[in-house]
């Protein structure tokens, strides 16, 4: 659970890239745009650093690192609130394809995702956030067509390639739909967290390509969502780290009653509790990343454990950061709210803390 010198070097490289391209001004500029990312920076990420293909094997155009390196990169992106379709494309779509048993689709689709030329996403959720129903697939002599709608699709309005979970005759199956396909209508959703865009997608007789066997999506999706939780908690650790840093810096500088506010136990102990939450989050997230990378059988348990603990911890430290900053922390000008909103969107993505504790309780037979 400790990082190698090579991993630390990767972290430093990503950090300095983000220092240049994802400072607060860039985040604020991009979050106000519809697509919420900078195509030039996205291209640099692909061509200079190869980040989009970091954990995609070399045979599919990637650099073949493990899931642990992907998590480490996400931690840094989370610290800087990078606005980009990275999570949708490099995490969700890439792992959906990698987990599918479809060699041809991997060869066709992964190289584009790995280079960043293709922005992809995964559409699995109904309007309750559950991966059930809502889209049906019909087999015709000309191929499959999809009907229905998927909700809360990350970067769904800008994606070139959408992997859709739809119900075929044999059960839930994975399909690929291209941007601009017949009958595909994306609707941008107004998100509280402007740094992470979502869309609803409706399909009306939309042509789609079956990925893997019909009825094989259940297992794939389960595993992809577990990996997504692990990736997201590592991203959250970065954000939690950043708000702790903001709060302590401010507590050392801000004077009230003639003293730095950080010298008062009321503030000092809040900051200590933030540190406790951040350190606990690191322990859970790093261990989850290791389990995801090594293919340990305990992934389902550690993914739910980490998702429940870390997403609550991130939300609490993001909220505490606002409190420590007082009035200034409640303004639009201060970055505290950007992290607070990112923390809330992370808490509700892929199952909230209570639903993951429910999963654990069921797994333990309670």
């Amino acid at each position: 659970m400790s990082f190698s010198p090579e991993q630390e070097e990767l972290r430093a490289t990503v950090r300095s890239f983000l220092d240049r391209h994802s400072d607060e001004a860039a985040v604020r500029r991009l979050m106000e745009t519809d697509d919420g990312y900078d195509p030039a920076v996205w291209n640099l990420m692909g061509t200079q650093l190869g980040l989009q293909g970091l954990y995609i094997p070399e045979e599919y155009g990637g650099s073949g690192f493990s899931f642990a390196e992907l998590c480490l990169v996400l931690e840094e992106m989370g610290a800087r609130l990078l606005c980009a379709p990275f999570f949708a494309s490099a995490v969700l779509a890439a792992s959906a394809l990698l987990e599918s048993d479809d060699e041809e689709a991997k060869k066709d689709l992964l190289p584009g995702i790995a280079s960043g030329e293709t922005i992809a996403t995964l559409a699995y959720s109904n309007d309750s956030g559950q991966p059930d129903g809502a889209v049906t697939a019909t087999s015709t002599p000309a191929g499959y067509t999809l009907d229905g709608s998927r909700h809360f699709v990350l970067d769904g309005a800008l994606a070139d390639l959408i992997l859709v979970v739809a119900c075929a005759d044999a059960g839930p199956s994975l399909f690929a739909v291209e941007k601009g396909a017949d009958g595909l209508t994306p609707t941008r959703l107004p998100t509280m967290d402007l740094t992470r865009k979502q869309a609803d997608l409706t399909f009306d007789d939309t042509p789609a390509r079956l990925i893997g066997a019909e009825g094989s999506a259940d297992e794939v999706l389960q595993r992809v969502l577990q990996l997504a939780c692990v990736a997201l908690v590592n991203e959250s650790v970065g954000g939690a780290r950043a708000v702790l840093e903001q709060a302590t810096t401010y507590a050392k500088e801000r004077l009230q009653f003639g003293r730095p506010i950080g010298s008062f136990q009321a503030i000092k102990h809040r900051c200590a509790d933030m540190l406790v939450a951040v350190e606990g989050s690191r322990s859970a997230a790093y261990h989850a990343a290791t389990v995801a990378a090594t293919g340990d059988g305990q992934l389902a348990v550690i993914a739910s454990l980490a998702k429940s603990y870390v997403s609550e911890a991130y939300f609490s430290v993001a909220a505490e950061n606002i409190q420590v900053h007082g009035g200034i922390g409640f303004t639009w000008e201060h970055p505290a709210h950007l992290y607070f909103k990112r923390a809330k969107s992370a808490e509700l993505l892929f199952g909230d803390p209570i639903s993951h504790r429910e999963l654990l309780a069921q797994r333990f037979g309670l």
Binding site: M1, S2, L244, T248, A251, K252, R259, P260, G262, S263, Q265, I267, K268, H269, C271, A272, D273, L275, V276, E279, G280, R282, S283, A284, Y286, H287, L305, S308, Y309, I354, R357, E358, L360, A361, F364, G365, L366
Partner: protein, 394 residues
């Protein structure tokens, strides 16, 4: 000593003194003489001049062989006083005290806390004044574990009240059987008397039992406290299947018809917390091994203490109305080896857990330490800073 030589020494120790048939005290003596007590120190101190990291190898091999654990026979001596003697003791003191401490022939206690100096240890008032080649000790200590079994005590006393509090303290080794030492059981809210009050009335300590320089006792005490936190924090890392007991307790209660969704979620929340603490302990150990101790260690004492309280209360409440019953009220005194009194009841464990956020540094002091030493926040309000101890209001 190389790892190979150390392994050979372990093999020889186990061959010549089979743990199953050797008296524990004899085994510890042989282990000390073989240089396997604290491997990184000199042979005269019970070591082999080996790499400190090799201590883990020794502990692992001996545990696997079923060897007795010295810490169970002299917990404060092994965990805190021994390491302090190694750091601050003169060659004569180390030669006199280390071996019987290690073998458990002489049990040790640590005498820092006082009725008016708990979290503010440096505010202590027990007084030692010079009298020729001796010191005369007067005062009271409190919360002293194992004082009733101890032969020796490591004590901090005020030797100069005219300077600021940290500068006027000196450390001594005190003979717990000397005239003027009075140990009285301190009965706690559990009913047990794990701790003691210790009164000193004109107790003579030879200057040869002074540990460190006159007025330098705070440095000696800090060494002891750091070792205390390590031993408290380290305890959690060895636990197997963190939180499994909590889930089992809930299952049992649910089978009795006392399950409900709120308790079920509490069980899972506590299970998660237990695992996060465990993972932090593993991470702290990994950091320590690479020579880079991080903030995880300090975090651990705080979180595990607060977790223990919540977990103990949860277990107690799962008993239903029986959680309000206490099976035994008679006063018990700890004996050695530690743990020989058996497993306490759920209710007693619940009561005992209230001490977890006080002993070894209160949660408030630990939050100050995390805020100031880890996050670098400014110091707490200290009106006694730079003021002579005698002039501080108390």
């Amino acid at each position: 000593m190389s790892p190979e030589e150390l392994t050979a020494a372990i093999d020889a120790l186990l061959r010549d003194h089979p743990p199953a048939t050797t008296d524990p005290h004899e085994f510890f003596a042989a282990r000390f003489d073989a240089g396997l007590a604290w491997v990184w120190v000199d042979p005269s101190d019970g070591g082999s001049n080996a790499e400190p990291a090799l201590q883990g190898l020794v502990e692992q091999r001996l545990t696997e062989a079923g060897a007795p654990v010295p810490g169970a026979y002299n917990p404060i001596g092994i965990g805190m006083c021994g390491p302090t003697l190694l750091t601050h003791g003169t060659p004569e003191q180390r030669a006199r005290y280390l071996r019987p401490l290690y073998t458990g022939e002489e049990i040790w206690c640590q005498l820092f806390s006082e009725p008016s100096a708990g979290s503010d240890v440096a505010g202590l008032a027990a007084r030692a004044r010079r009298d020729g080649d001796d010191w005369i000790l007067d005062g009271q200590k409190v919360w002293t574990s194992f004082a009733h079994l101890s032969h020796r005590g490591l004590i901090l006393a005020r030797t100069d009240p005219t300077v600021p509090k940290h500068n006027g303290i000196t450390a001594f080794v005190v003979d717990m059987h000397a005239p003027g030492v009075d140990v009285r059981p301190l009965r706690q809210l559990t009913g047990d008397a794990e701790f003691n009050e210790v009164f000193f009335d004109g107790v003579r300590i030879p200057d040869g039992d002074r540990l460190g320089d006159v007025g330098a006792g705070w440095r000696v005490g800090t060494t002891t406290l750091m070792n205390e936190r390590v031993s408290l924090g380290g305890a959690i890392a060895t636990r197997e299947e963190p939180g499994a007991g909590l889930l089992e307790s809930y299952r049992v209660a649910a089978a009795r018809g006392e399950g409900n969704p709120v308790r079920r979620d509490q069980a899972i929340q506590l299970w998660i917390e237990a695992n996060v603490n465990y993972l932090t302990a593993v991470r702290a150990a990994a950091g320590g091994n690479r020579g880079k101790p991080g903030p995880e260690g300090s975090v651990l004492k705080l979180t595990s203490a607060e977790f223990n309280q919540r977990a103990a209360e949860f277990q107690n409440d799962l008993l239903g109305p029986a959680g309000a019953l206490l099976p035994a009220h008679e006063m018990r005194r700890p004996t050695l080896p530690y743990g020989s009194m058996g497993i306490p009841s759920t209710q007693t464990t619940f009561l005992r857990s209230r001490a977890n956020t006080i002993e070894g540094g209160t949660s408030e002091i630990l939050r100050n330490i995390l805020g100031e030493r880890v996050l670098g926040l400014p110091g707490d309000v200290r009106v006694d800073k730079g003021v002579a101890w005698k002039d501080v209001p108390r």
